[in-house]
C-alpha cells in the first residue's frame, strides 16, 4: 500500500492521517473517521447523499479523493450541531416535516448550509438551484424548500 500522510480539518478539528491515494473522501469520513452521517447513495455524483462542505463549497464526497483535502477544511452533517444544540436548519427541517426516511437529509442540509453561508437570504429559486443535486424520494421538495426558507428568514440567517 502506498500511503500518503495528509493533514486536514474536519468540523473544526485538526487531523493527520495516512490515506491510500485513491481513497474517496466519502470513505475517509465514514470508515476512517467514523463520521457515518454522510451517506453513500449512487456513488456517481447524481444523488447528493454524500454532500459535504469543502472550503465553503458543497461538493460530492464520492467524487473527491482523500489526498485532495490536504490543508483544507471539511464540514459534515456532524459539524452542524453545536454544544448539543441542533443547527437552526436542522430544527427547521424537523418543524416542517422535511425528513421522512432521512437518507437524503444530511446531504440536503449540507447543500442548504453551503448556500446560506454564501447567501444568507436566498430566493426560492436560489434554494431550488442549490439543492437540485440532492435527490429525495420521500419527503417532497416543497417541505424541504420551506424549511430552508424559514431558516434563512430568522435573524442570523441560519448561519453561525
Amino acid at each position: 500500500m502506498r500511503a500518503m500522510l495528509i493533514e486536514f480539518k474536519v468540523n473544526g478539528k485538526n487531523y493527520g492521517r495516512e490515506v491510500r491515494p485513491t481513497m474517496r473522501l466519502l470513505d475517509l469520513l465514514r470508515d476512517e473517521l467514523g463520521l457515518t452521517g454522510t451517506k453513500e447513495g449512487c456513488a456517481e455524483g447524481e444523488c447528493g447523499a454524500c454532500t459535504v462542505i469543502m472550503d465553503g463549497e458543497a461538493v460530492n464526497s464520492c467524487l473527491v479523493l482523500a489526498p485532495q483535502i490536504r490543508g483544507r477544511e471539511i464540514i459534515t452533517v456532524e459539524g452542524l450541531e453545536q454544544g448539543g444544540e441542533l443547527d437552526l436548519l436542522q430544527q427547521k427541517f424537523l418543524e416542517h416535516s422535511a425528513v421522512e426516511c432521512g437518507f437524503c437529509t444530511p446531504g440536503m442540509l449540507m447543500s442548504a448550509k453551503a448556500l446560506l453561508m454564501k447567501n444568507p437570504h436566498p430566493s426560492e429559486e436560489e434554494i431550488r438551484l442549490a439543492i437540485a443535486g440532492n435527490l429525495c424520494r420521500c419527503a417532497g421538495y416543497s417541505k424541504i424548500v420551506a424549511a430552508i426558507k424559514d431558516a434563512s428568514h430568522s435573524a442570523d440567517g441560519g448561519c453561525r
Partner: protein, 296 residues
C-alpha cells in the same frame, strides 16, 4: 489492482517535475468529477495521479492584451461568479451555470472539461465559437498554444502527450458589437440521443439590423464538437428577422444530417436542433420575440 501513487505539486515548477515522472497510464487529476468516478468503477487504472488542486497559479482568471486567460483549474462556480466572465463572456457563464448540479460545478473545472473530451462537454462549443486556444505545458518547461480542435482528437481522446498538461484556456475578446449565447437540451444522465448543445455568436449591426462573423459551435453530435462553417457562411450578412431564425433552424437540421448520416439518433437530433436554433436566436434578439428569453 496495484494502488496508484499520487504527486501533489504546489506550483508550476513542481508540476513540471511531476510531469517528468508520468508514464502512459498516468493521469492528471483536476476536480475529479469524471476521473474519480472512472477510477472507482475500475474503468481507469492509473499508476500515477498528478493532482493539480494545490497549484494556485492554475486557478487565476485575468484579462491581458484583449484576451481572457482562464486557469485550467478554474471551477464552473468560479466562472459563474467571476466579474470578467460575466461582463465579457456571458455565454461561457451560461454554459457553466447549466452544468450538472451545484456540487459538480464547485468541483468540476474547465481544464477537466477539455481533458475529458466528451462530445457533449458543455464548454467546448463556446470555446470553439470564440476561437479559444489552450496553453499546454510539458515536463521540459516548454509551453505551446494549441486550438481546441487540435487538443480534442475524438470521443474521450486528446492529443496531449503523457508529460503534457493544460495550464490555461485563452479566449480572444470579440468587440462590443458581438452577441453570444449557449443553449442545450438533455442533462448528463439523459440518454446520448437526447443531448445537444450549441454556442452561437454574431456581430450585430444595429443600423442595418444584420449579422456578420457568425460563429456556430455544435456539440453532442458525432465524436467531437465542431464549428459549422457552412451554416456560418449562409447566415453572414443576413438581415435579422423571424425568417432568419427559421433559416438557421433548417440549415442546422441539414448540418446534423451531414454530420451523422444513418445514425440512429439522426431523426431525433435533426428535429431537436431546430428548437435549439429558435431558443438561441431568441436569446440573441429578444425584442423579436417580445423580450422572452429561453433557457433550455
Amino acid at each position: 489492482m496495484r494502488e496508484a501513487a499520487m504527486l501533489t505539486p504546489n506550483n508550476l515548477s513542481e508540476l513540471r517535475e511531476a510531469l517528468g515522472q508520468a508514464t502512459p497510464p498516468s493521469k492528471i487529476l483536476a476536480g475529479g468529477t469524471d476521473l474519480v468516478l472512472a477510477i472507482h468503477q475500475g474503468r481507469c487504472k492509473p499508476d500515477l495521479l498528478i493532482d493539480l488542486s494545490g497549484v494556485e497559479e492554475l486557478k487565476i482568471i485575468k484579462l491581458t492584451e484583449g484576451r481572457i486567460h482562464i486557469g485550467a483549474m478554474a471551477t464552473f462556480t468560479q466562472l459563474m461568479d467571476n466579474q470578467l466572465i460575466k461582463g465579457s463572456l456571458p455565454c461561457l457563464r451560461e454554459a457553466a451555470s447549466l452544468i450538472g448540479s451545484n456540487q459538480i460545478r464547485s468541483a468540476g473545472t474547465i481544464g477537466g472539461n477539455i481533458g475529458n473530451a466528451s462530445p457533449a462537454g458543455d464548454t467546448i462549443p463556446v470555446l470553439l465559437a470564440f476561437d479559444a486556444v489552450v496553453r499546454v505545458l510539458d515536463s521540459s518547461g516548454q509551453a505551446v498554444e494549441q486550438s481546441i480542435d487540435q487538443v480534442i482528437s475524438g470521443a474521450g481522446r486528446t492529443s496531449l502527450r503523457r508529460d503534457q498538461v493544460i495550464t490555461e484556456i485563452i479566449i480572444p475578446l470579440l468587440g462590443e458589437h458581438y452577441r453570444s449565447t449557449f443553449v442545450k437540451i438533455g442533462s448528463r444522465t439523459a440518454v446520448t440521443i437526447a443531448k445537444l448543445n450549441m454556442a452561437l455568436a454574431v456581430k450585430y449591426d444595429e443600423t442595418a439590423k444584420s449579422i456578420s462573423d457568425v460563429r456556430v459551435g455544435l456539440g453532442a453530435i458525432g465524436t467531437k464538437a465542431f464549428r459549422e462553417r457552412q451554416v456560418e457562411e449562409i447566415l453572414n450578412g443576413r438581415r435579422v428577422d423571424q425568417c432568419l431564425a427559421d433559416t438557421l433552424a433548417e440549415e442546422l437540421s441539414a448540418a446534423v444530417q451531414r454530420a451523422i448520416p444513418g445514425r440512429y439518433s439522426l431523426p431525433y437530433k435533426r428535429e431537436a436542433v431546430k428548437g435549439l436554433a429558435q431558443s438561441a436566436f431568441a436569446n440573441l434578439f429578444p425584442k423579436l420575440y417580445g423580450g422572452v428569453s429561453f433557457t433550455t
